[in-house]
């Protein structure tokens, strides 16, 4: 009889190693390489799509594929803890490529699904399987899928290949910002295009002459981010001197030399030659009667320009017209006009 010392030594080593070896999981048929899971959204509890891709490496009969979702580990055949909130029982099969012809086995649980088909010889290749209507786990954390292929159609035989995938649920991410209300409005004889400056607040028309039209200009500009836009109105009276007045043009009218007229518009006129058309990137435009060339109007409280939406700066030039009749009483005539920019937010 031969000495069996090596055998005894091996047995001794096995006995010593037994406590560790008994925890080695069964993992008999590794495979399914290059595997990934594309989750439609990682939002917890969302209903979404799960797209699997992996390489089948065994050229053998393939009748079923088990997808087991666990929260504890990805190791096939280990006890599986189902992820809380996760539910694949209502899933449907979407696109499938590579090895195809699978349907969902009726035996399905919230965390386990089997794709089944008539067992067919598989070709080593990349396969993809998409599932719709999968309910994500209810907690942001890491989770696992165990993939196991079988020759049988119901996963009842020893596995052919198996592997695991890790995936994660995360919180979503909010970005917030606040845009404050904004209105910029300026009035002057001359204003900068962005209201950075405005000069002058007095117009002297000199001595009025019944045979000549007197003209002058002033400007205003404005911008706002009010969603309802910008409205510019005028408040004031026609030119007065004590109890005497120059007739305000309540009805839009052209210049009539020798008639008592006070009015303005916001356009570049030729008769008389006065004014500049609106300028700038904004959307503010003269309204109604104040937007007609060579015709002039003045009505207290009128909205003379507006933008229906937020507007960048527009410089509007007010073209004043004064005519007097031969019977105009002498005196110093004055009109004080207030322009009001109102934004609607």
């Amino acid at each position: 009889m031969r000495p069996r010392t090596p055998v005894k030594l091996m047995l001794a080593l096995l006995i010593i190693a037994a406590p560790a070896l008994r925890f080695v999981p069964i993992y008999s048929a590794p495979g399914l390489l290059n595997r990934s899971l594309q989750v439609g959204t990682t939002e917890v509890s969302a209903s979404t799509t799960y797209g699997f891709q992996f390489d089948i490496t065994s050229a053998s009969s393939l009748g079923s594929i088990r997808f087991q979702f666990c929260s504890n580990d990805p190791i096939p055949f280990n006890p599986c803890t189902a992820p809380t909130g996760f539910d694949i029982s209502g899933a449907t099969v979407g696109a499938q490529t590579g090895e195809t012809g699978f349907t969902i086995d009726p035996v399905i649980t919230p965390n386990e699904l089997i794709l089944t088909r008539v067992p067919t010889l598989a070709t080593p290749q990349t396969v993809t399987y998409d599932f719709n209507n999968v309910i994500n786990p209810d907690t942001a954390a890491s989770y696992f899928v165990r993939l196991i292929t079988y020759a049988s159609a119901d996963g009842s035989d020893p596995s052919t290949e198996e592997a695991g995938i890790a995936f994660a649920m995360t919180d979503r991410f909010d970005v917030t910002a606040f845009v404050p209300p904004f209105l910029s409005f300026c009035v002057g004889l001359s204003v900068a295009a962005d209201c950075s400056s405005a000069t002058g607040n007095l117009i002297d028309l000199g001595i009025l002459d019944e045979s000549l039209s007197s003209t002058a200009t002033s400007q205003f500009a404005g911008a706002t981010n009010g969603v309802g836009g910008l409205a510019i109105s005028v408040i004031g009276t026609t030119m007065t001197s004590g109890v005497n007045t120059i007739t305000g043009l309540g009805t839009r009218s052209p210049s009539s030399v020798g008639s008592s007229q006070f009015g303005f518009n916001l356009r570049n006129n030729s008769s008389p030659n006065v004014g500049i058309n609106p300028a700038g990137p904004g959307t503010t435009v003269p309204t109604g009667d104040y937007n007609v060339i060579n015709e002039f109007t003045f009505r207290n409280g009128d909205i003379i320009a507006s933008s229906p939406l937020p507007t960048n700066y527009t410089v509007l030039t007010v073209s004043y017209l004064v005519n007097i009749s031969p019977s105009q009483n002498p005196g110093v005539y004055t009109a004080t006009l207030t322009y009001i920019g109102t934004a609607t937010f």
Partner: protein, 435 residues
């Protein structure tokens, strides 16, 4: 009568004694003519097998020591399955089965490590069996022979060392088909002549001056398996408490870039004095996926009309003016798009950039930012935002990632006309490893 009787008995005793002595003399002569089966043993003998795997082609390193005054002309190492005792019958089922195969019938023929003459007797004086060399094994041999050039007598104790290459371990195919743990033996013979006699069984030559036996064994290969389970740790947050170098101390999910106006570009982190919450976005990843990981994001589609994935006022109706939008008067910020571009103050725009990848929490530096999101965090560099709701890639790794953290920075500037309001966009981030 008695006297005669006594004389007769004495003669018979003497004859018997003579016969015994004669027989003993024959036995003595016979004994001194027997082979020297009690030759001295070589000491410190061993054969170190480079591998004990059955049927493996491996190397045997033979070592033994011969005592001073020994004349050595040749060394023979014979393999047997039954016993290590020299001069007894050596048996085996088949060469290569239960004893090693040394010829070229399976794999390579055994050769001498270092080439011819590389073997050595350590401690030998010059001229004492210099350059002993291996004789090429013949077909079917179960032995190896090493020859000196001439028989030499060693003045002192001398140790032989030599490595025989490409020895085929026993396959145990018939001798022990189910158990690779199988013993076999080697016998060492030292000859005084450089031409050892042919192998006989049992071996009977008188030229043997030293012998020795060695036990060897093939052995089961112990396979140790372990599994490293697939890992993906992926978290989104705004604050790293720095109490751990992983996802466990990442918290928060809102980045507030505060009051946005047309005079400047608001870039996270925006100080609380400017209405912000002084944080950036963070996305930390750890995975052992050998094929790497990709990180995508998509803008959640909010409520309202048009540009639902833009930084927008919830429920607002925005202008249907293409993607990304260009309107600066609706309550949807114009998105920076997916090509990456600077943001200019006063020209309404919202974008994201990954200003850096923090690798200080782990041991790798493998995440690479996608080009359009690889800005430096200044307004004049690259910003992008895909408002479509389709996942857009922001970072990629082709191998494992150990707690690398993307620093997500958001920037916005309003136009003069950008309507007032509280603007929000929600985004979801997805890490997809390939194992």
């Amino acid at each position: 009568m008695d006297l005669l009787s006594k004389q007769g008995r004495s003669s018979r005793v003497m004859a018997l004694i003579s016969a015994v002595l004669l027989a003993l003399s024959y036995i003595f002569v016979a004994l001194i003519n027997q082979p020297n089966i009690y030759a001295a043993e070589v000491s410190s003998r061993s054969i170190a097998m480079a591998s004990t795997e059955e049927d493996a082609e491996t190397d045997y390193t033979v070592t033994f020591t011969v005592e001073a005054g020994t004349t050595v002309g040749a060394v023979r190492i014979e393999f047997c399955d039954n016993s290590p005792i020299p001069h007894t019958t050596c048996t085996n089922a088949a060469v290569g089965d239960d004893v090693p195969q040394v010829d070229a019938n399976a794999g390579s023929i055994v050769t001498e490590s270092g080439g011819g003459g590389a073997f050595a007797f350590t401690g030998a004086s010059a001229g004492e069996c210099d350059n002993p060399s291996l004789t090429a094994p013949g077909v079917g041999d179960r032995h190896l022979e090493v020859l000196c050039t001439t028989p030499d007598t060693f003045a002192g104790a001398t140790t032989f060392t030599g490595t025989f290459l490409d020895v085929d371990n026993p396959s145990n195919s018939t001798d022990s088909p189910t158990n690779p743990n199988n013993t076999f033996y080697a016998r060492i013979y030292i000859y005084t002549d450089t031409t050892p006699p042919a192998v006989a069984n049992p071996f009977t030559t008188t030229e043997v001056v030293h012998t020795g036996g060695i036990a060897l064994s093939t052995a089961e290969q112990l396979t140790i398996t372990a599994r490293v389970q697939e890992v993906l740790h992926f978290c989104i947050g705004t604050t790293d408490a720095a109490s751990a170098n992983d996802c466990t101390d990442i918290s928060g999910n809102t980045v507030d870039i505060g009051v946005v106006d047309s005079g400047a570009v608001s870039i996270s982190p925006v100080a609380t004095t400017s209405g912000g919450n002084n944080v950036n976005g963070l996305a930390m990843i750890r995975t052992n996926a050998s094929n790497g990981v990709v990180v995508d994001y998509f803008a959640e589609q909010g409520t309202g009309t048009n540009h639902l994935g833009a930084l927008r006022v919830s429920g607002a109706t925005c202008t249907a003016d293409g993607t990304p939008s260009t309107s600066e008067v609706d309550q949807c910020f114009n998105s920076a798009g997916t090509t990456g571009n600077p943001i200019a103050a006063g020209t309404e725009e919202f974008g994201l950039t990954i200003s850096s990848v923090d690798t200080t929490n782990g041991t790798t530096a493998n995440l690479v930012r996608d080009a359009e999101y690889a800005g430096d965090g200044t307004a004049g560099d690259l910003w992008a935002w895909d408002e479509t709701g389709t996942a857009d890639r922001i970072a990629t790794s082709t191998t494992v990632v150990d707690d690398e953290m993307l620093i997500l920075r958001f920037a916005a500037t309003s136009a003069i006309t950008t309507p007032t309001g509280t603007y929000t966009v929600v985004s979801t981030y997805i890490a997809t490893p390939t194992f």
